[in-house]
């Protein structure tokens, strides 16, 4: 399943999707960035409530397919702009992290 399809089927909002054809093969939830880098797998969708600029570097280096901001968390405009340049997909979910993960799980 691609990031575009996941966004649509789960009813998430697209914050910025510069690489929507990217495949999603798993899912990881976590807010401690080193835990994410230690545990998330490449091509996972990463669910987090963290919204500072460092999430973009973590997503790039851990090679996740997208960031899903849960709990209705929003990001600043400069992060959206940087995400576009770095080709990091960011989706947003109004649901808590657990329910967001359940929705992802139903699709992949």
């Amino acid at each position: 399943m691609t990031v575009n399809e996941l966004c649509q089927k789960c009813g998430f909002s697209a914050v910025v999707i510069p690489d929507g054809d990217r495949e999603v093969t798993g899912c990881y939830t976590g807010d401690l960035l080193s835990w994410v880098m230690g545990r998330a797998k490449g091509d996972d969708a990463w669910i987090t409530i963290m919204s500072n600029i460092n999430i973009l570097a973590v997503a790039t280096l851990a090679d996740v397919s997208c960031i899903i901001l849960s709990e209705g968390v929003t990001v600043d405009g400069d992060i959206i702009e940087t995400a576009k340049q770095k080709e990091v997909n960011i989706l947003s979910s109004s649901l808590p992290s657990y329910e967001t993960a359940v929705k992802v799980s139903e699709q992949i």
Partner: protein, 140 residues
């Protein structure tokens, strides 16, 4: 590739938000060299953790990445306060990071363990009051 290639970076200790630039650049360079995605992931995460440590604890430093035929070496050097007890620092969950750093999602005490996890060899040479040099190797 018969000769080794070296990439050198200065890691800015002032700017927390730009931390990771060197690691992202290394990722791009390795991709151009045709290195496998899993190796690239290992090298770039290990390097990013080191970069973050230098920003959090040491006021910056330098990073050198040497790519040769059979391995990738990452050498991180700083003139920070040094690590008093390396064995303790290597324990998952142990951290001396400030609350401000923790609020950004770092300081979970997973940095050094992740560097070890993603590399085949890691040597820490640290002198309190003088600085720390970490050499990591990922075999190709």
């Amino acid at each position: 590739m018969s000769e080794s290639l070296t990439f050198h970076f200065d890691v800015d200790g002032e700017d927390f938000t730009s931390a990771g630039q060197a690691s992202v650049q290394v990722k791009k360079n390795l991709r151009r060299l045709g290195i496998s995605p899993e190796i690239i992931r290992q090298v770039s995460i290990a390097m990013y953790e080191g970069e973050i440590n230098m920003v959090i604890h040491a006021g910056g430093g330098t990073a050198d990445v040497i790519v040769s035929e059979d391995k990738i070496e990452i050498i991180l050097a700083d003139k920070g306060p040094g690590i008093a007890d390396v064995n303790l620092a290597m324990q998952e969950g142990y951290s001396t990071a400030t609350d401000q750093v923790r609020s950004l999602g770092f300081g979970a005490g997973m940095g050094l363990p992740n560097m070890k996890r993603y590399t085949d060899e890691m040597i820490i040479d640290s002198v309190v009051g003088e600085g720390t040099t970490i050499r990591m190797v990922v075999n190709l």
